[in-house]
């Protein structure tokens, strides 16, 4: 049997609409199905699993659903969730425990690994399990490098790299079993105590944007971003930038694309005055079309671009804006 930790926002989401099940957790479920027919989805929450959420898990291959109900889980509590998984691991002795390679999935699994004193393979793109040992391929360096590793453990703990395992419908029985676990207070110490919603108008988020006009050191200054912002607006997109730009304080970090910034997947990524360091490319390699505007023909970004303009961005961008306005 494989256990799959299902992240959710059942307790906090606005009523109606989506089921509250984390879409990336469905990818972990998909990965589990490639390893075993018996796949148990584990949900730790403060109340019953809504029927729509149970149906979604069933439709994605959960042959069993275990719901741990605890009043302390009204909002996300990583260590308590891991403790619940640890108790279940002892009870059912699974071959593996999987979760999404998201901030939360990796966090819960790291707690679980620490509790069980087992290795944890994060951000896997491939998984095979055998008796007493498993083999994984996992992402390093924000996906710029892959590692093949053998995990010597009777239970494999792993998380799945986002979008490495496609979600396909796979109806399964998925009978729901609910239980009330014991959770020591110390495990509930760290949990979400408050949510701060953004004030004022929120523009298009980087990760959802269809068009990103991104600037690097070549833009030269905070003021230099004016034509980038104007072009982004004309195209219904948003501004992105490199780390050099955020460390100089020209733009906020929420706009940084890359390994330690945001990973983006727009239809169009216009890189202006960005050299294309691996750590930057780690964030924009899922862009459908890349246009690079750079004075240096040999800049690495020119190798990964679909279209290049070898020229000063400050000459090109105003001309593009003017042409678009006509």
């Amino acid at each position: 049997m494989i256990l799959v930790h299902i992240d959710h926002d059942l307790g906090t989401r606005a009523p109606g609409g989506v089921t509250g099940v984390d879409p990336l957790s469905l990818q972990a479920l998909a990965a589990a199905r490639t390893l075993d027919d018996a796949v148990t989805a584990v949900v730790a929450a403060d109340g019953d699993l809504p029927p729509a959420a149970a149906a979604e898990l069933r439709a994605h291959g959960a042959s069993g659903i275990r719901v741990a109900m605890h009043p302390g889980l009204a909002d996300y509590a990583p260590q308590a969730t891991a403790r619940i998984l640890a108790t279940l691991v002892e009870e059912v002795c699974p071959r593996a425990v999987l979760a999404a390679g998201s901030a939360r999935g990796n966090e819960v699994m790291a707690h679980l690994a620490a509790i069980l004193d087992l290795p944890l393979a994060t951000d896997c793109t491939q998984i095979t399990i055998g008796p007493g040992q498993s083999e994984v391929t996992r992402a390093r360096w924000g996906g710029n490098l892959l590692e093949e590793a053998r995990v010597h453990a009777s239970i494999l703990l792993a998380t799945t790299l986002p979008h490495a395992f496609p979600v396909t419908p796979a109806p399964a029985a998925g009978e729901v079993h609910t239980w009330t676990p014991q959770v020591p207070d110390a495990d509930l110490l760290v949990r979400v105590v408050e949510r701060v919603m953004p004030t004022g108008a929120v523009g298009v988020g980087l990760s959802e944007a269809k068009v990103i006009v991104s600037g690097g050191r070549g833009v030269g200054s905070a003021e230099g971003f004016a034509p980038l912002a104007e072009l982004a607006e004309l195209l219904g997109g948003t501004v992105g930038c490199s780390r050099v730009v955020t460390s100089a304080g020209w733009r906020p970090h929420s706009e940084q694309v890359g390994q330690t910034g945001t990973k983006v997947a727009p239809d169009l990524y216009i890189a202006c005055g960005i050299s294309g360091a691996t750590q930057h490319l780690a964030g924009c390699k899922s862009a459908k079309v890349v246009v690079a505007i750079n004075t240096d023909r040999d800049a690495p970004i020119m190798q990964v671009a679909d279209y290049v303009i070898v020229d000063d961005l400050h000459a090109v961008l105003p001309a593009v804006i003017e042409a678009l306005r006509q």
Binding site: H111, A114, A121, E147, H152, Q303, A319
Partner: protein, 267 residues
């Protein structure tokens, strides 16, 4: 406040990754080294907290002897002293947390000054396991708040904020605690010349660490307890796109507008 900040020396990758012949490491012979932006932000946060509350900052690094270079760079920004746990090979997260935990306990016993806060990056730039901070917290019996882009200390409590889309989740824990930080928490300062000069005289305590039994780095498997064994590294091949040159100036601008129209992103 006594703060310990854990940092890791990593290569400053260029535009292409070259592996060593055995394909188990990155060929770093032509590369410089640095620490991850996540950890730069952890150091900056510690410096700001000590500016506000007073206290001392100790840097802790598990890595090769050459990591003294990264420790000096970070010492130039304000931390008081550093401890280097010297390990030649890559050490996996279980062992890293065990070694750092033991070093932290020994250091607190020796100085008589317990740490209020232990900061790490949310994940290392190179191996990216997302677990060392949490394992360290369990090892030390402390609460862990992770992935923070906002950090404050007041009344014996630490508050951490995590970004979720454009919203923020707030976490709170009593001190002492472990907190892992993310790039964007702050804008790290640049070192000043006096800072660099002072850093040269700051103490770096270099300790040779015996790898704990059960998890020797690079040792063959079998009877060693559960562990993850690196087999080889692979550089994913990205297909050369053969970019189309749109020319320069107004001509390029006109052609780019055509491309934009073709893609269909214009409303």
């Amino acid at each position: 406040m006594n703060i310990c900040v854990c940092i890791k020396r990593v290569p400053l990758l260029g535009s292409a990754i070259v592996l060593t012949e055995d394909q188990r490491s990155i060929d770093t012979s032509r590369l410089g080294f640095t620490v991850s932006p996540h950890e730069e932000c952890a150091v900056e946060a510690a410096v700001q907290l000590v500016e506000e509350h007073g206290g001392t900052i100790t840097l802790l690094c598990l890595g090769p002897a050459a990591a003294v270079e990264q420790l000096r760079e970070q010492l130039a920004l304000g931390p008081d002293r550093a401890i280097l746990l010297e390990a030649a090979d890559e050490v996996e997260p279980q062992a890293t947390a065990a070694l750092m935990g033991a070093a932290i306990e020994a250091d607190m016993a020796a100085t008589g000054a317990p740490y209020d806060l232990i900061l790490l990056g949310s994940e290392s730039a190179d191996t990216a396991g997302y677990q060392t901070g949490i394992r360290l917290a369990h090892r030390l019996g402390l609460p862990a708040i992770t992935n923070v882009k906002g950090l404050a200390v007041a009344d014996g409590q630490v508050t951490g904020e995590r970004a979720v889309g454009s919203a923020r989740e707030v976490y709170r824990a009593p001190l002492p605690a472990v907190v892992t930080t993310k790039d964007g928490l702050n804008v790290p300062r640049y070192p000043s010349v006096p800072g660099r000069i002072k850093a040269r005289k700051k103490a770096i305590d270099i300790q040779q660490v015996p790898l704990p039994a059960g998890v020797p780095a690079g040792a063959p498997a079998g009877g060693m307890g559960p562990r993850m064994e690196k087999l080889r590294l692979i550089v994913p091949v990205s297909e050369a796109k053969g970019a189309q040159d749109l020319g320069t100036g107004d001509q390029a601008a006109a052609r780019l507008v055509e491309v934009i129209r073709q893609i269909g992103v214009l409303a």
